[in-house]
């Protein structure tokens, strides 16, 4: 059974179908990518899985449990963490507090517990803080950076803090919406390494949306390509790269045809059996 299973899900905004009858399976332990031109429906898919949008029709299953239409906090409690395309940290809270908010649904203390400060509440709080510090250090926000307001962190660290906050929710599946957007090449390499570590060491399955093809091809086990709300290709990086439909979606019909012609010409001249890879 796949960790995440989307069955014929559809999202209609008025007359526009942002996603139409998409089937998608994410196996446990994978780093999977969702790519496609702007407006292909990638973020819409994320928003439906995380509960911000309700699917118009279809089913979304996490570990076999239906999560389509559940409120975001319920989905989070069931084991789904996410980050946002345009960073959405709690800017006037410290980095540590941001991570602690992520732990919210894993903590038990109630409002009267907070007022009375019973021993169990204090113990839980101390443990949570310790764990939050560990998570911050894990993503590279160690030392005293935990006390910095989220809004005062440099851009690259804000992206990392978002990952730490999502990790704090104790997810089984993590959705990363353009985790390297706006990063310089050096930061991008660091972010890729972090994503790999999260999968390998913490055993968290990852689904990411990304435009940087170096990242996508570099870390994905499996890539799904969307265009106009429908799946046009799926497979390993090699398979997707070779798929003429993908080239067409990204570069247009004319360019795709031109590439095909050039390749055929090269193949004819050299006489070798070319597999069509760019």
């Amino acid at each position: 059974m796949a960790l995440l299973e989307a069955r014929r899900i559809r999202k209609q905004f008025g007359g526009l179908a942002a996603l139409s009858d998409l089937d998608l399976n994410i196996e446990k332990g994978m780093i999977a990518s969702l790519i496609g031109p702007n407006g292909a429906g990638k973020t819409t898919f994320f928003n439906m899985v995380s509960g911000i949008y309700k699917p118009t029709s279809g089913q979304i299953l996490l570990e076999g449990k239906e999560i389509g239409g559940l409120r975001p906090n319920r989905v989070t409690a069931l084991g789904l963490g996410r980050t946002f395309q345009n960073i959405r940290l709690f800017s006037n809270m410290t980095a540590l507090e941001n991570v602690l908010v992520g732990m919210n649904c894993r903590l038990k203390s109630s409002w009267y517990g907070a007022l009375l400060r019973t021993r169990s509440v204090m113990q839980e709080e101390a443990k949570a803080r310790e764990r939050a510090q560990e998570l911050l250090a894990y993503v590279g926000l160690g030392d005293d950076k935990g006390e910095t307001f989220a809004k005062n962190l440099p851009y690259g660290l804000q992206r990392r803090l978002e990952i730490a906050r999502a990790l704090a929710t104790h997810p089984k599946l993590m959705l990363l919406d353009e985790p390297t957007a706006g990063m310089n090449p050096q930061e991008t390499v660091g972010a890729m390494a972090l994503i790999k570590r999260v999968r390998d060491e913490l055993d968290i399955t990852i689904l990411l949306i990304e435009h940087d093809m170096k990242v996508v091809m570099g870390i994905s086990d499996c890539i799904t390509v969307l265009d106009y709300g429908a799946k046009i290709a799926e497979g390993t990086p090699g398979q997707v790269r070779a798929n003429p439909k993908v080239i067409e979606a990204y570069l247009g019909k004319g360019v795709a045809a031109q590439i095909r012609r050039t390749k055929q010409k090269v193949a004819a001249e050299t006489g070798s059996q070319e597999d069509g890879t760019i």
């Binding site: 906090n73 959405r88 709690f90 006037n92 410290t94 602690l100 908010v101 649904c105 005062n152 929710t169």
Partner: protein, 383 residues
């Protein structure tokens, strides 16, 4: 000047932080405890009475701070909860109702009823944000005094069957008078303001403690996360519905304390006491001091009351004597206390424009602002 001050305070700053905090706190507590004695010696206890009233408003400001400051829900009708607390006390102790329950029970009833109404008003507003929420709470603040005014004659019945006929619950415009007073081991609270002062001091201390503890708790962080970004908070596992309702309920319960105390001390409550003006004044206190910051809210509340009760009356006296001396009739008959709302409005505009974080932003935030200032030139050099 700065240097003299620096050298004078050097021994004080030499004390370790922790001990200095304890010393300050101990001094403050001693000051607050001995204040009525000092006041009696000089002024026959007149100021103690005023300070007691000020503390009632400070408690209200602290309750509103939970809703507006922590959870970021702009509530323009907070006085309604104060009214509900006061009227719960009044109804349960007004002699014609033949209940006359003990004040120490009634005060908790007031808290529970206020919290209940906090949830009632909270429920329909859960989907609203920002200005829409403000409008609904504004309406609630207007509805409550009107309802109270009209509950002087309650008739409940279907056809000829009547459960209640012309039942006088709130005594309409005249209000409830007298309201039951607290007693303790045979001692009755009456016109001497000193026992009232100590009682409100205890309530205020408890409310401040609750504010502090909630701020640094799982719930406090959830409130702040909702204030910062509701969608992101929801995706991080914070249940917005439950969390918002708790903010309304806990915020309202504080005003239940204040309402019960106020009704018992004043002995007479009527709907006119709980108008929109009061909601605005409490909101001013929270904003002036610094939203979400306990120390700021307390000091902000005191400053506004000091201005209202001392500065305005004293300047009026001064202006009048100047007017009489110079034979300017307009100045000689001026009453600045009629201008209070003008000054409140002006203060709000000035604060919002010049210092939107309030007069006393929290230490963390101040440190952060300084850090940002230091970073700025460095970043400029790099860029």
């Amino acid at each position: 000047m700065a240097q003299i001050w620096h050298s004078l305070t050097a021994p004080w700053r030499a004390i370790p932080d922790r001990q200095r905090q304890i010393l300050t706190l101990a001094f403050l507590i001693l000051l607050l405890l001995t204040f009525p004695l000092v006041d009696k010696a000089f002024d026959r206890g007149g100021v103690v009475n005023d300070v007691t009233d000020v503390l009632v408003l400070v408690i209200l400001a602290l309750g509103l701070n939970i809703v507006v400051g922590y959870a970021g829900l702009l509530d323009l009708g907070y006085a309604a909860f104060f009214a509900i607390g006061a009227y719960t006390t009044g109804i349960l102790t007004w002699p014609p109702h033949h209940l006359e329950l003990n004040f120490w029970i009634v005060i908790w009833a007031a808290v529970i009823v206020a919290a209940f109404f906090g949830i009632i008003i909270g429920t329909p507003t859960l989907r609203l944000r920002g200005d829409y929420l403000a409008i609904v709470t504004l309406a609630f603040g207007e509805i409550v005094p009107v309802v109270i005014r009209n509950l002087g004659s309650v008739t409940i019945g279907v056809g000829s069957w009547q459960l209640l006929s012309d039942f006088n619950l709130t005594n309409g415009v005249q209000g409830l008078n007298p309201v039951g007073r607290p007693g303790l081991w045979g001692f009755k609270f009456s016109f001497d303001p000193t026992p009232w002062y100590y009682l409100i001091l205890i309530i205020a201390a408890l409310v401040i403690l609750a504010n502090v503890r909630l701020q640094n708790s799982r719930l406090g962080r959830a409130w702040m996360a909702l204030r910062e970004d509701e969608t992101a908070a929801d995706c991080m596992g914070v249940d917005p519905i439950r969390t918002k309702l708790l903010a309304f309920a806990i915020g309202a319960s504080f005003s239940g304390f204040a309402g019960a105390f106020y009704a018992a001390k004043l002995q007479a409550i009527f709907p006119e006491l709980f108008k929109f003006n009061l909601s605005v004044m409490i909101l001013c206190m929270v904003i002036l001091g610094g939203m979400g910051n306990i120390k700021g809210v307390v000091i902000g509340g005191m400053l506004i009351q000091l201005f209202d009760r001392v500065v305005l009356t004293q300047t009026t006296i001064l202006a009048r004597s100047v007017g009489e001396a110079l034979h300017i009739s307009a100045l000689a008959t001026i009453d600045l206390s009629l201008w209070r709302w003008f000054f409140f409005g002006l203060t709000m505009v000035v604060i919002m424009v010049l210092r939107p974080e309030g007069l006393f932003p929290s230490a963390v935030r101040r440190a952060e602002l300084h850090a940002a200032e230091e970073e700025a030139p460095r970043a400029a050099e790099k860029g």
